[in-house]
């Protein structure tokens, strides 16, 4: 999978209340969640984000609640991939479970700034920053996680497993 897009840059410890405030959790409608994505951090995000844009963030992205509304809001807002120095664990597994591509790459986050044009090759674990003319190789995804992504997320994986079991 390859993505090319414009960068939104956020700092460290972006929590799930920042990604989607709890006052909007009385629904799980993706479009409605997307309208409030990141609003307590950057009011302009939901309005200005474009299909295919990419989030770069510091350490511990998605810390806090288990709400899947967070990756749902990000995905529905049009974000194609999230690159961070590290991810909080529930956000990490939620992203794979619902097939939102994410990558851990501290070096790329350090160099990349808002509005940069970047290209990401998930299979090769490569991030190319076209604005700064730099290429980064990142940690590859464990084989089990690759299988999850290839199955279209956890539900696809579980359904496939149940159908194929005797």
């Amino acid at each position: 999978m390859r993505f090319k897009g414009r960068v939104w840059k956020f700092g460290a410890d972006v929590d799930t209340d920042a990604i989607i405030p709890a006052r909007y959790l009385n629904t799980s409608d993706p479009d409605e969640l997307a309208r409030h994505c990141m609003e307590d951090v950057d009011l302009s995000f939901a309005e200005s984000v474009k299909q295919g844009d990419i989030i770069f963030a510091g350490k511990n992205f998605g810390c806090g609640s288990s709400r899947e509304h967070a990756p749902i809001a990000i995905k529905a807002a049009g974000i194609s991939c999230v690159v961070a120095k590290s991810f909080a664990r529930i956000f990490y597994r939620n992203s794979f479970n619902m097939a939102l591509p994410i990558m851990e790459c501290p070096e790329a986050v350090d160099v990349t700034e808002a509005e940069d044009e970047v290209e990401i090759d998930l299979d090769r674990g490569e991030i190319i920053n076209h604005t700064r003319h730099k290429t980064f190789s990142c940690q590859s995804i464990p084989p089990f996680m690759q299988e999850l992504v290839e199955s279209g997320g956890l539900m696809g994986y579980v359904t496939k497993k149940i159908i194929s079991s005797p």
Binding site: D13, D15, D17, A18, P21, A22, R23, L25, N26, T27, S28, D40, V41, K59, N60, C63, G64, S65, S66, R67, E68, H69, I72, S86, A88, R89, I90, R93, N94, N97, M98, P142, F144, G153, L154, M155, Y157, V158, T159, K161, I162
Partner: protein, 428 residues
């Protein structure tokens, strides 16, 4: 090579002789949990996958606790989804509003989660049950959907950090202060992807309520699970509650730990976490003059009977300061009734407190105590992120119930020691 309690529970539930950190395993689930925020997505995924029946109706627990009693029409619709699904699947563990409680206080209280269990919950504070010597971790709604169908979950075996607490606890210091101090030491990602095993003579002497509080906030350090090896205190807690078999697991003497943190608790005073991260802790003596608008005593972290008793001990014969709202929320219907029987409600009402039916409400800025722009609250809850309890320009300070109660009386953040005749306490 020996194994930790976490590795042993995981190995048994994956039908492996042993497991190693980093290994990805499939485990059999003893209990899977969802609430009125997370279960609606899980139920929708369950139906979308074409599933008809949950794998075991006694192992799926649905609790509406975040926005109930229904705060608005949308929340009512979400709670209804859980009710309809519980009816359709004839789930054993579903509780209507008059018999419920905040999930992480209710499940141990009812004996639904037990030592040695493998528990996943679509709520980040599911790690609370590690206090019973269970492996318990928060997951997402899709994980819950998959577990409802297959009875299994995928997990990466975590490395374990061993925390050792020794020494004598200072007055007004409880499990809340130990875990806040720990988070302050290692940071909000200090235990990222890892198991946190709490040990030492202080933990051995800690009552269950404080143990639950500590395990509850493991997620606030990024931990996968918080766990305490079960003992006599655990046995006393579960023996009359359990309706099925349970098992005590112990860490081997030669078990592998990736890090060891030792704390002399005699140096720890009551802790306050400043906005906007739980790691921003200060000792109560370093807080300074911070006026407050609201105090919340409750939540899955500190809404147990012991927490109500400590608050009452401080509030007895006193009143909340002028223009300071005091909101007290017993975490379950049992805690509510027991607090009433013990006369705590009279003390709370005399102190001008508002007492609410069990709900997570204000902790996540849902209802029952949302903050206005520029307002400050002291809360016994677990998170103080930007906008957590209401307006993005409001502030939340995390503390134990004794500090919260004293702060309500003072109208600023402070200790019971600042009140006249603060009283003695014999347990925390």
């Amino acid at each position: 090579m020996g194994m930790t309690i976490t590795e042993k529970i995981l190995a048994d539930h994956a039908s492996e002789r042993e497991v190693e950190p980093g290994q990805i395993i499939n485990v059999r689930i003893d209990i899977a949990l969802g609430n009125d925020i997370t279960a609606p997505i899980a139920i929708s995924e369950f139906k979308k996958a074409g599933a008809l029946k949950v794998f075991n109706r006694e192992k799926i627990v649905l609790i509406s606790d975040h926005f109930v009693p229904n705060k608005d029409i949308k929340s009512a619709n979400q709670a209804k989804l859980l009710r309809d699904f519980a009816k359709e699947q004839n789930l054993t563990y579903y509780y209507e509003v008059g018999e419920m409680g905040i999930e992480h206080v209710l499940l141990p209280e009812k004996g639904i989660v037990l030592p040695g269990d493998m528990v996943i919950g679509a709520d980040s504070h599911t790690c609370t049950y590690g206090a019973l010597g269970a492996f318990s971790t928060g997951v997402g709604s899709t994980d819950l959907a998959a577990a409802m169908i297959s009875g299994e979950a995928w997990l990466r075996v975590p490395e374990t950090i061993k925390f050792v607490y020794t020494g004598k606890l200072n007055k007004w210091v409880s499990g809340k202060d130990l875990i806040l101090y720990t988070i302050g030491d290692i940071g909000v990602d200090g235990a990222l992807y890892k198991a946190m095993e709490f040990t030492g003579d202080v933990i051995e002497n800690l009552p269950m309520a404080s143990r639950f509080t500590m395990a509850n906030m493991a997620i606030e350090a990024g931990g996968k699970n918080g766990i305490i090896v079960p003992d006599k205190t655990t046995e006393e807690y579960v023996t009359n509650r359990a309706k099925r078999e349970y098992k005590f697991y112990y860490s081997d003497a030669d078990a592998r730990y990736c890090d060891l943190r030792e704390y002399n608790v005699s140096r720890i005073e009551p802790q306050v976490a400043f906005p906007h991260l739980p790691e921003n802790v200060k000792g109560i003596s370093e807080v300074g003059n911070i006026p407050i608008d609201q105090v919340v005593i409750g939540s899955c972290t500190n809404g147990r009977l012991e927490d109500m008793r400590i608050a009452a001990r401080i509030l007895k014969g006193r009143k909340a300061a002028p223009y300071t709202r005091l909101i007290i929320i017993p975490a379950t219907q049992w805690v509510y009734r027991q607090s009433m029987k013990e006369g705590l409600f009279d003390i709370f009402l005399d102190a001008n407190a508002a007492i609410s039916t069990p709900t997570c409400g204000p902790c996540l800025g849902g209802h029952m105590g949302v903050l206005a722009k520029g307002e400050r609250a002291v809360a016994t809850t677990n998170r103080n992120f930007v906008g957590r309890m209401g307006d993005p320009e409001s502030e939340v300070y995390l503390a134990n119930p004794a500090i919260a109660a004293a702060s309500a009386v003072l109208g600023r953040i402070g200790s019971p020691e600042e009140l006249q005749n603060p009283g003695e306490i014999d347990e925390v």
